[in-house]
Amino acid sequence: MPAPEQHRLIFRHIDEPGYSNDLACYQRNGGYEVLRKAVQRKPEELVDEVKKSGLRGRGGAGFPCGVKWSLLDRKSGKPIYLVVNADESEPGTFKDRYIIYRDPHQLIEGIMITCFANKVERTFIYIRGEFPGGAKILEKAIADARAANLVGPNILGTGYSCEIYVHRGAGAYICGEETGLIESLEGKRPYPRIKPPYFPAVLGLYQCPTIVNNVETLCHVKHIADMGGEAYSKIGTPNNTGTRILCVSGQVQRPGYYEFEVGRLTMGQLLNEVCGGPLPGRTFKAVIPGGSSAKVLKFGERYKGKRKVGADMVEYDWGVEDIPMDFDSLAMIGSMGGSGGVIVMDDSVSMVEALGNINAFYSHESCGQCTPCREGSLWMKRITARMVHGEARPEDGALLKSVADQIAGRTICAFGEGCAWPTQSFVAKFGDEFKGYSKDKRGPRPDGVPELV
C-alpha cells in the first residue's frame, strides 16, 4: 500500500516560497483570526475543545494535553503560569526549530489561545541557548504582536492581558524535563523535582500551578481552536489524533521533516517511500523511532500479539516496516513514539559504537542529582568507551544491561529511563555484536565507516 500524502497542518507554510516569518505575512495568511474568535468564547469551552481533540503532547511523553490542563489547581488563588518548552534537545528531533525560525506567529497564536483558556497572565518561552537566532526572532515577533494588541495588556479590547517573555537556556538537555525547566527558569541548577509532591499543575513555577507544553503541541491548540476538538479528533487515528511532524535522520536517502496524520503510515512507508530507502548498497539495520531515549528496533525482528481495533481484539504480526507510526502501536511493540525523531542506521554501523555515542550523550547531560542516573550513566559510558577504544570483554554486554536495569524506574525523573532504555534495547537485540565486538574490531576500520565515539 502506498504511503499517504503528508498532511501539513503545522508545517503548512514551512518551505513555502515567499513565506516570511513576520507578522504581516502571517496575517495575510489568515493569522490571528483564530485568536480573535477564541477570545470571544468562554475559556472553559476552549479547554473542552482540547480535551475532545485527544491531542497528546508532542514533546516526547505523549501525555493527553486536555488532561494536563484539567489537572491545574485553579482554586489556589496563586497565578497560573504557562511555560513553553522550546528546549528541543532530544537527539533526532528537529521540528520546533522550524516553527520558531520560520512560522513563529503560529506558536504565539497557539500560546495566546492556551493562556486565555487557562487564565494565564504571564508566560515564558524557554528556548534552548543554541537557538540564538530563534530567540531574537521570537522576541521580535512578540514585540510586533504586542504592537498589534495581540499580546500584552487588554488583548483585542477584551480586558484579558497576557505577557510573553523569552528566556534563553544555556546548553543543558535536562532543561527539557518539565520540572528541570522550571528550576532553570527560577534561576537555579536545573535539578528535576520529586513528584509527589511537586507536580507542576499544583506546585510548579514559583510553587504556583503551571502547565509546561511543547512548541508543536501549542501550535496544534491553535488548529483545534479553529476547527473544533471533534473535527480534530477525526484526523489521525483513534486515541492518536491529529498530525505529527516526523523527523527522519541518519542513513536514508532523503532525511528531513515530514508531517503526517498520526498512525496513518507505517515505518516501512516512511523510510522506504517517503525517505527513499537506504543509501546505495546498504540495508537497514536498526531504527530508533522516537528520539534517542526510545528503545531501538532491529530490522528482521517480529512483533506478535493481539490489539484492540475498534471493538475487536485483532491479532498482529509485524516486522519493523509494518509498525504504524503512532504512540500506542510503538508503545505496544516495546518502544515509544516519543518526540518523533526517527534515527536510521544501516549495516555499516556498529551497534556497540552507536550505543557508545548515545551513552556519551546521556552521561554528559545527566544533571547529577540522583545516584542511579549520575553514576550509572557515566559507568555505562565508560564501559562502551572502553569497549571501543580499549579492551572489550564478552561479558560487557551483560554488564551494561545489568547497570541499565538498576537505573530505569529508580530515578527522580524520566532521564533515568532515557539513558537506560537505549542500553537495554541495544544489548537485548544486538547481543551477539556486543559479545563478539573484541574479535570484530581486530582488523583495520572499514572505509567509509565514520567513528561514532
Binding site: 533526532g92 543554541e130 517573555y165 543543558a172 538537555y173 541548577r189 535522520s249 565514520p450 561514532l452
Partner: protein, 164 residues
C-alpha cells in the same frame, strides 16, 4: 569590578522585571554579560549576584553547570561541531578533525593565532541535515570534511580582512 557597556546595562535593567523573583534573571544576565565581555569572570559572578540579591555561589553553580558559559576567553570565532548520533553517523567526527587540522588546534583550546576555538557539542536539533556545525550564532548544515575546509577558508579570509 566589571565594565559593562551601557547597552548591556540597559538590557539587564529591562529584563529583571520580567520575573516575579529576581533570581530568575540569572541566566539572562549571564548571557548578556558573556556577550559583552566574551566570558564570565569572577568579578562578573559577584556583580550579578549582588544585582539579583543572591549569593555568589548561586551564580557560580550555574556558570559551571551550563556548557555554554565559559570562564575563560575563547577564540574570536567559536566553532561548535555536533557529535550526537545522527551527526556522528554522517561523519561529524571527521568534520571536527578537519576543523582542528585547519586551525592547528586541540578541542576546547584557543588556536595559536587566537582566532578560533573548536569544540564538540551535543545535538543541535538539525539532525536531518547532518553533520551540522554552529559557527558563532549561525548554523551550517551538511558540513562534511570538504565543506569544513571551505568554511575554514571563509573564516581565515574574514580574519585577514579584519571583518567577520
Amino acid at each position: 569590578m566589571i565594565a559593562l557597556k551601557p547597552e548591556t546595562l540597559q538590557r539587564i535593567d529591562e529584563v529583571i522585571p520580567h520575573y516575579p523573583v529576581k533570581r530568575s534573571a540569572a541566566l539572562p544576565l549571564l548571557h548578556f554579560v558573556q556577550e559583552d565581555q566574551g566570558y564570565i569572570s569572577g568579578d562578573a559572578i559577584e556583580w550579578i549576584a549582588a544585582k539579583l540579591e543572591i549569593q555568589p555561589i548561586n551564580v557560580y553553580e550555574l556558570v559551571t553547570f551550563y556548557p555554554m558559559f565559559r570562564q575563560k576567553p575563547m577564540g574570536r570565532r567559536h566553532i561548535r561541531v555536533c557529535r550526537t548520533l545522527s551527526c556522528a553517523i554522517m561523519g561529524g567526527y571527521r568534520t571536527c578533525a578537519e576543523f582542528q587540522r585547519q586551525f592547528n588546534t586541540g578541542l576546547g583550546e584557543v588556536s595559536p593565532d587566537g582566532e578560533v576555538t573548536v569544540e564538540f557539542v551535543e545535538c543541535l536539533a538539525s539532525c536531518g541535515t547532518a553533520p551540522v556545525v554552529m559557527i558563532d550564532d549561525d548554523l551550517h548544515e551538511k558540513v562534511d570534511a570538504e565543506r569544513a575546509i571551505a568554511l575554514s577558508r571563509e573564516i581565515k579570509a574574514a580574519q585577514a580582512a579584519g571583518t567577520r
